[in-house]
Symmetry: C3
Subunit: 276 residues, 3 copies
Amino acid sequence: MNYINAGDRSGCLSFLSGITNLSLIQCDLSCFLAQQSLPPVNSLSLEFLTDVCIALEKLEMDKSCRGLVVTSSQPKVFSAGLDILDMYGKSPEHCAEFWKAVQEMWLKFYGSNMITIAAVNGSSPAGGCLLSMTCDYRIMADNPRYSIGLNETKLGIVAPFWFKDTMVNTVGHRATEMALQLGLLYSPAEALKIGLVDQLVHEDQVLTTATETMTKWLAIPDHARQLTKSMMRKPTIDKLAANREADVNNFVKFITKDSIQKSLGMYLEMLKRRKA
Amino acid sequence: MNYINAGDRSGCLSFLSGITNLSLIQCDLSCFLAQQSLPPVNSLSLEFLTDVCIALEKLEMDKSCRGLVVTSSQPKVFSAGLDILDMYGKSPEHCAEFWKAVQEMWLKFYGSNMITIAAVNGSSPAGGCLLSMTCDYRIMADNPRYSIGLNETKLGIVAPFWFKDTMVNTVGHRATEMALQLGLLYSPAEALKIGLVDQLVHEDQVLTTATETMTKWLAIPDHARQLTKSMMRKPTIDKLAANREADVNNFVKFITKDSIQKSLGMYLEMLKRRKA
Amino acid sequence: MNYINAGDRSGCLSFLSGITNLSLIQCDLSCFLAQQSLPPVNSLSLEFLTDVCIALEKLEMDKSCRGLVVTSSQPKVFSAGLDILDMYGKSPEHCAEFWKAVQEMWLKFYGSNMITIAAVNGSSPAGGCLLSMTCDYRIMADNPRYSIGLNETKLGIVAPFWFKDTMVNTVGHRATEMALQLGLLYSPAEALKIGLVDQLVHEDQVLTTATETMTKWLAIPDHARQLTKSMMRKPTIDKLAANREADVNNFVKFITKDSIQKSLGMYLEMLKRRKA
């Protein structure tokens, strides 16, 4: 399988013009590589989430696109998760808008008809871990400096029920209970052990392994695979779909609390000091 | 525990006269061995399923029969699964009749009051895997040429929700999601690793181990064990019991589609060529 | 972390006067050690359960108490489980009262806002296993003579649905199905393997490890951890909370049956002979 720059496929990707921080590269006739390329750490901002959702929607409608490998072009990080700047010091309206975009991203990825493979070539905390868990298969770089997990409680916030449901579907109830209560970030080896990722390979081999894996998945008839995927995930998806507004209200009410804003502020300060 | 041919138990098994492809052998006073013996590969045809259900129903009513070991007398195969000839080129009425028999088999085995142990002494794809998953314990021959799994998607068809539920109850949500999407057939070693079977033994030891295991299970008071088994399985059983007709209609609508019939035809051709 | 006798904390523990078989020792400002000390084997009698519930309720209201380590001061046993003397030869009214206390204990522990860690320094069958499963983390002494499990079927009785739910949440559906049907008691090594306990340490290290673990859990902001714990456990708790009366009636009807009373009588005789 060769990587072909999407630009080479005349016309076909014109719908992606204007999406600057997600580069789509065509692997072969039936599969794309989606590279998150938003410096420095692919934070899932409102703008980036909107772009990602538009891209996914268009790919989903392109019948020739059957698979998607999701990865990062930024060094050392797959995705740093939700952008705290979209939750800190913002109006309730902005927070609501942001949360709807997070929901939309999850609904689109977890319910995608495409084969989705996460090539986790760097750290993947919080929303980054969620994004990788929505995929059908997760390959992670075997570098002990990278970590993955839903670490929300460490910031004083709480993963919503659909983050939790996705994790229960991936690693089971008990591992999720401990992971979420402690906000655990797992090393690649630990993540493999509990089933949070499916395979570890050398950093250099993440993309190659992802495309090889894709080839195996592409051998399965689409129709049967899609019905099966939907059967497995529909109850979980329906739960959020039926409660989007309540979930938004719940998030806005929680995140705009003085105590939570203070926690986020302290966390941002800590990040700044770390950089300096 | 000694095997006694059922014929030796005067009178008791007269209800089994006329059932030719399932030989029932009495192990001791409280346990039977059910040997599938339908050449060449114990395909679960409408006729065979009907026979199996009648036999199970009678054993269930015989209070002295507390346990059942299910195995195969055919070489290299435990059960090849549902008989495609009952789904290919058949009338919707025939397909409906067939599917009702598959449901009946599952309901009877998964809800059995007896201790059921699968002595998986050969390959066990699709419906064969389902049958073994309905049992309380699975012992498989440690022969790497054998495999087990729900491989429906590879044929372009989809495992119904109750196949899926049974697998989730056995190996959990994540392993099921991957197994079903890819139609994976597992080697004995892989099957043990994900919990699809409980124990591997040398091919020669499958039956002996099954009867030894049965002795351990027979030591548990029936009443308490049966109530416990029912508590674990009832929600899953109730789901199908409440939706049998819709599930039949769904199956018939799907399987009689031109595209699906074409897939099945190609699969049958492939099997013929392989034999030749 | 140093152990301070609760008596040293002037005033604060006065509410515990009169509770004789549960000694509460303060570890530091935010954590207590609850030592079951009811000779010979910490059987969960009606009286003891009542005391435990009162103590837990008071600790729960004391905002400065954020964590609880549960252990035993009796040699070789963490807890022998429910006291059979409260179910054998007793009036239906007494049995009902007893069962309500068992429910109350489970509801309080499984839904506790505190961090709860089980320091399982001895055998832990039946109700003892349940108690440890309600905790957030389980550390067991690595002594092969100790065992843990829900062994109700071996006595001819049946674990109720909320015992079952707690175990499914801990070790998954399949392991629970087998464990409950066979009434399995696991060695520490086996318990670790299926996830029934989280960690094994040398007998001398159980308490030290428990307090070290507590320190890690105390580092998580309470509010976020409590909301997360509640999200994970609320559906399971709600199921019993909505069905307490039916569950009591069900228990009383079952346990007062002649056949069940006879089983319990035989079991008590066996215990007596073993002692002699």
